[in-house]
């Protein structure tokens, strides 16, 4: 090994010797509700070099987590992060009816700060579940949900139904880690011992991976769940022809499915946005939840929503603990009120009621309808985000933050509401969401005290 400090070696020709590669194991991918916690990440010189075991999306998320950070700006002018925090606090404390929105890819620790800020401001608080799985959340408030963990699915489930979801493209490792292939305590045969059924309006990669694909007409979740409830309970339908169509599918197919449900040892329905966003919205998951409850008169049967964003389940948890409600909360009377149609982000933007917004860990420019985005662009918008995206270009105040699960530690909730600790595996010059939000909160409170 040459001595690189020796005078015989000109210093300008010396390439600093790279430090050893550190392999971080059991890293949690924070992209989707699966929160795969077996990822391996190689780090050298504080740079992520390689990602192993993740799906294509997860690999891209982690590999690109250290690049493309926005600059701290106020109305497009680059300033210090301290200046952005001061301006954010000024905007929020002078607003009459602000919205605090996002949360879904932030840590629960940052989410707690957001709840507190919304309360201090007598403002509104919402997260993206209000236009995604929110109807399922509302259904659970009405009728509850018999549910289980993904670990139980892996170890026990012999019947898995994917209903209105396509995890092969949206939650890519779901089938291999939890619901189809894995061999568990009582599922020693893995895929061979499981019956997989997919209900959808079109063929997908998931329906192709299933043993049976039931292709339904769009907007028919409610009647499908209703017919299944009746068939499971053995009620007369008043339809004599077994080939009569229900949701575009012969009744005999539903009868066979009802029998498969009743005769399994441990069944699980995974339901997606095809259930919560189609015609009927919250009535669909409500009927599905009642079906699941009633099947438990015959066998063990559960349902799990296929939550999208990494910690969107955590949003509902944190808001539930701290306000009593999982989404769409308003504090303007000094106590939390809940009304999804009124205080959800799209309701507030649609009626042009809010006069400022604090947005964290979501990308409204890509997620919200055009009229909602247009209104947001007309009011002061403060935006915390680790990467340049479709919102950083127009937000009034942009505050770059360290990406959670890579350069900031914290807690995320998996789709089955299991909390997992996400790691900090590299250093970042940027503060975490939690740190920025605490600073904003303290400045607001201090100004109110003065």
């Amino acid at each position: 090994m040459p001595d690189t400090t020796s005078s015989q070696v000109p210093l300008e020709n010396v390439t600093p010797r790279p430090t050893d590669i550190t392999v971080h194991r059991s890293v949690v991918c924070t992209f989707c509700g699966c929160l795969c916690d077996d990822i391996e990440v190689e780090v050298q010189d504080n740079q992520i070099r390689k990602v192993k075991k993740a799906c294509l999306i997860g690999r891209n998320k982690i590999m690109h987590s250290q690049s493309n950070s926005p600059r701290p700006t106020i109305q497009g002018r680059e300033v210090s992060i301290a200046d952005t925090i001061a301006e954010a606090a000024r905007i929020l404390r002078t607003a009459k009816f602000p919205l605090v929105y996002g949360l879904s890819s932030a840590t629960t620790e940052a989410q707690k700060e957001l709840v507190e800020i919304a309360e201090i401001l007598d403002g509104n608080l919402d997260n993206p579940s209000s236009y995604c799985h929110g109807p399922g959340v509302m259904a659970r408030q009405q009728v509850g949900l018999a549910t289980c963990t993904l670990g139980e699915v892996k170890n026990r489930a012999d019947l898995v139904i994917f209903w209105g979801c396509n995890p092969m493209e949206s939650h890519m490792r779901h089938l291999s880690r939890y619901s189809s292939q894995p061999k568990g305590l009582f599922t020693g045969e893995g895929r061979k011992g499981r019956k997989i059924i997919a209900i959808d309006i079109r063929p997908t990669a998931t329906t192709k991976a299933a043993d049976q694909f039931i292709q339904v007409e769009p907007g028919t979740t409610f009647e499908t769940a209703t017919v299944l409830r009746a068939l499971v309970r053995g009620l007369k339908l008043g339809i004599s022809d077994d080939n009569a169509l229900v949701a575009g599918v012969p009744l005999r197919v539903w009868r066979e499915l009802a029998e498969a449900i009743k005769s399994c040892k441990y069944g699980v329905i995974f339901f997606g946005l095809g259930v919560t966003q189609c015609r009927g919205r919250d009535l669909n998951p409500e009927q599905l939840s009642v079906l699941v409850r009633e099947v438990n008169d015959f066998t063990r049967f559960y349902a799990i929503p296929m939550r999208g964003h990494g910690n969107v389940a955590g949003c509902n948890q944190v808001m539930g603990w701290q306000t009593g409600y999982p989404l769409a909360v308003n504090f303007s009377r000094g106590y939390p009120r809940y009304n999804p149609g009124e205080f959800s982000v799209l309701g507030l933007l649609g009626r042009k009621e809010i006069d400022a917004a604090l947005i964290v860990a979501t990308d409204p420019g890509a997620h919200l309808p055009q009229d909602s985005v247009r209104y947001l662009r007309d009011i002061p918008t403060i935006y915390l985000e680790p990467h340049n995206n479709t919102t950083t270009g127009w937000a009034t105040v942009v505050i770059p933050v360290a990406p959670a699960g890579v350069a900031a530690a914290g807690t995320f909730y998996r789709m089955d509401n299991i909390p997992l600790r996400v790691k900090k595996i590299v250093e970042s010059p940027l503060p975490s969401d939690e740190e920025v939000l605490r600073s904003i909160k303290e400045k607001i409170v201090h100004a109110q005290d003065c």
């Binding site: 998320k61 690109h64 236009y131 929110g134 949206s170 079109r202 649609g350 890509a366 309808p369 009229d371």
Partner: protein, 126 residues
Amino acid sequence: MGGLSGLLVTVRSSKQGAEMMTSKLSEDYLREISSLRINAGDMQTLCVADGQRARMKSPYGEVTVTCHTADVPSGLFFLPLGPLANQLFSGANTEGTGVPDWKRQRVTIEALETTSVPVEEHSHDA
């Protein structure tokens, strides 16, 4: 050449998910979120071939999409989630639920480029 009406359904695609993690401002991301999956018979009605562009309109806006044949029902059009699809939705009316019609927005679609002969014959010639 004729227009078609049907329901727009927004969906996640693996490529859309992967590209948005690289950059939502990249050409690859924009290409994917403008890729419409449409029934072969509907393509033929529109006189568009795979990879040709069409204009999709809703009461709230219009966008240009690139048509790709897919095994999907006639009258249902599938577009990946993203800022392009969102031009066709409104957040103002959610029927009191907070959820727009992400899975059932009524739209019309018309070709911007057309094949000179029906699609089936065109592909035979190729």
